[in-house]
């Protein structure tokens, strides 16, 4: 059954640029997030991908209320958390927790692991009575695969992967329903990355969690997500189920992004078509008119500079109910397979699949 747990509509975050000292005059704005809509269903993982500066981390911060949106609403089980304050906000925050990117800077080096994981209980004492806390923290350590006896150690005594487990344990402490993970594995080595992804997978089943998983690595996002949204310059340009996005992308940016990902298969390099985009992402202070991707798009025509394409199922796919019929914000949406299908899975010689 599909039950929405988070509903985001028209989310906007503009950071004003001011000039002058006494009379701060607004001369412009960094449009970090500029109209984002999505829904997260219970028990689901929504992946958000995009390049640096596309606004994905700003979205994450707004979801956990570390930033207030300029416009738009974030509804958790029907209630708008972006307008809450005081007691109501405190309760809402308990249910949406965050796991940060860098396990080296997101843990206080002067606190023991027990204090770090137990700190959420100081703010929400109703979750765990004082005498019970140590036991709970040890349980959490056990759940994320660390030795409960490590409770009195300090962060520097752990490796990167172990620290990320501590960060995850802290995120779980209050038994939230939603976890927002902002690049949780990008600072880790390949062999350790797989351990942490498997842990996140297991915890989702165990605690009935819903994830918003933000990353720039498209392979990892595919692995963990049920649905995927692709962001470009503050907006979602394409969103759909993972096979819709990866095997049947219709937005040119998604196609370029997918085609640029190096595939760990040397045989693929001969018969792979690469779409190499020219130039860099435009500055979010000066967003192009119409479609914001048009400055780098090989399909761009006059219409693209005049009319903002809406995020909806493109007209040409609306009647057919195939995998190409998903939301894509492009005037000239066209299906194109860019990721070569691996016909013989397990060709890596791993025999595991």
């Amino acid at each position: 059954m599909v039950e929405p747990i988070l509903e985001v509509t028209g989310l906007v975050k503009h950071y004003p640029l001011t000039q002058g000292i006494l009379f701060k005059k607004q001369v412009g704005a960094v449009k970090a997030v500029d109209g984002v809509d999505f829904t997260l269903n219970r028990g689901e993982t929504l992946g958000i991908v995009g390049e640096s500066g596309c606004g994905k981390s700003t979205v994450a911060k707004m979801l956990v209320n570390l930033e207030r949106p300029t416009e738009g609403s974030i509804k958790f089980k029907g209630e708008d958390i972006s307008k809450m304050s005081g007691r109501a906000l405190k309760t809402a925050r308990r249910n949406i927790q965050m796991v940060f990117q860098d396990p080296y800077t997101s843990l206080n080096p002067r606190m023991t692991v027990g204090d770090i994981i137990g700190e959420p209980y100081e703010i929400h004492p109703e979750v765990a009575p004082k005498g019970d806390r140590r036991k709970r923290v040890q349980d959490l350590l056990d759940v994320v695969g660390l030795n409960p006896e490590y409770i009195n150690r300090y962060p520097h005594q752990f490796s990167g992967g172990q620290r990320q487990r501590i960060g995850i344990a802290r995120g779980l402490a209050l038994r939230p329903e939603v976890i927002v993970a902002d690049e949780p594995v990008s600072a880790l080595d390949v062999s350790v990355q797989a351990q942490v992804i498997n842990l996140l997978d297991r915890l989702q089943d165990e605690f009935d969690l819903s994830y918003v998983f933000i990353a720039h690595d498209l392979s990892i996002v595919r692995h963990i997500s049920d649905r995927v949204g692709v962001m470009y310059l503050g907006r979602i340009v394409e969103i759909g189920k993972d096979e819709e996005i990866y095997d049947h992308p219709t937005h040119p940016y998604t196609q370029a992004l997918l085609s640029a990902v190096p595939v760990p298969d040397p045989d693929a390099r001969e018969h792979r078509e690469r779409i190499i985009l020219s130039g860099d992402v435009p500055s979010p202070t000066n967003v192009p008119s119409g479609c914001r991707f048009r400055t780098r798009c090989w399909k761009a025509q006059e219409r693209c500079s005049l009319e903002v394409p809406l995020l909806a199922v493109p007209a040409e796919f609306r009647l057919a109910s195939g995998p190409a019929a998903h939301d894509s914000a492009c005037h000239f949406a066209e299906e194109k397979t860019v990721v070569p299908k691996d016909e013989t899975p397990g060709d890596l010689g791993n025999g595991a699949e």
């Binding site: 062999s191 797989a194 010689g349």
Partner: protein, 324 residues
Amino acid sequence: MLLEVRDLHVEFRTRDGVAKAVNGVNYSVDEGETLAVLGESGSGKSVTAQAVMGILDVPPGKITGGEILFRGKDLLKFKEEERRKVRGAEMAMIFQDALSSLNPVLSVGDQLGEMFVVHKGMSRKDARAKAVELMERVRIPAAKERVRDYPHQFSGGMRQRIMIAMALALEPALIIADEPTTALDVTVQAQVMDLLAELQRELNMGLILITHDLGVVADVADKIAVMYAGRIVESAPVHDIYKAPAHPYTRGLLDSIPRLDQKGQELYAIKGLPPNLMHIPPGCAFNPRCPMAQDVCRTDEPELYEVDQHRGSACHFWRECLNG
């Protein structure tokens, strides 16, 4: 052979003890060839490269053994002055983080031109003209106008191009690129890797690409050396290694990456952590994490066995591994 590293040993003497970062590395690269050195953090891949370039911090670092033959001559026997002539002119390095590798208070034109002033004794004016030429070569738009700009005025991808331009300035025979695209977004990464590969072909340079990204390796490398705890555990032509790895560590790495073209089940994860370089386990360094480990692995250090003419694997059970 353009470059041959033979049985290189490097250690770092620290207050807490001796960290053995490189323990007998052998690799070679020829003109026009791309060697990928693959490994996780702490595997010794960057330290080896620094020793080759002669930019290792000594102390605490110390090269305790081995040879680095460049066109047949052992660089380790060179005096610092001779070494400096080789560095930049004959071999050059591209670093991971362009922003911290470039000097923030000098314009990019000055930094590019410096190569010509120092090595070729050119005038500043001629050097500047050369700088513009180089910037055009790495396809930086409006090079003439931008030559006076400072590093912070360029985007990440453009800064990495400037690093490439700087490495190419004197048309060296060998380029060492240490994680050249790790800090970049995928679309920019593709641009930069393409440019690097193209320039390499054009100038017929040898390229050592240091990376942890198995995808990038598959895209550009001719052969691979996989490093673990300061040793090469497997070396092979690129096609062979992806088809059938001959070392359990390589196999584990390949199995643990999520694939873009497959929605996998649970990922294979190599258990445990890379070893502490101050206490490398006896026998095979990978044995505590290895699913195939036997008693012999805990006592005898495996040599790099010859799998075939072009392949080597430092595993007692490489045959079993190769056959799955």
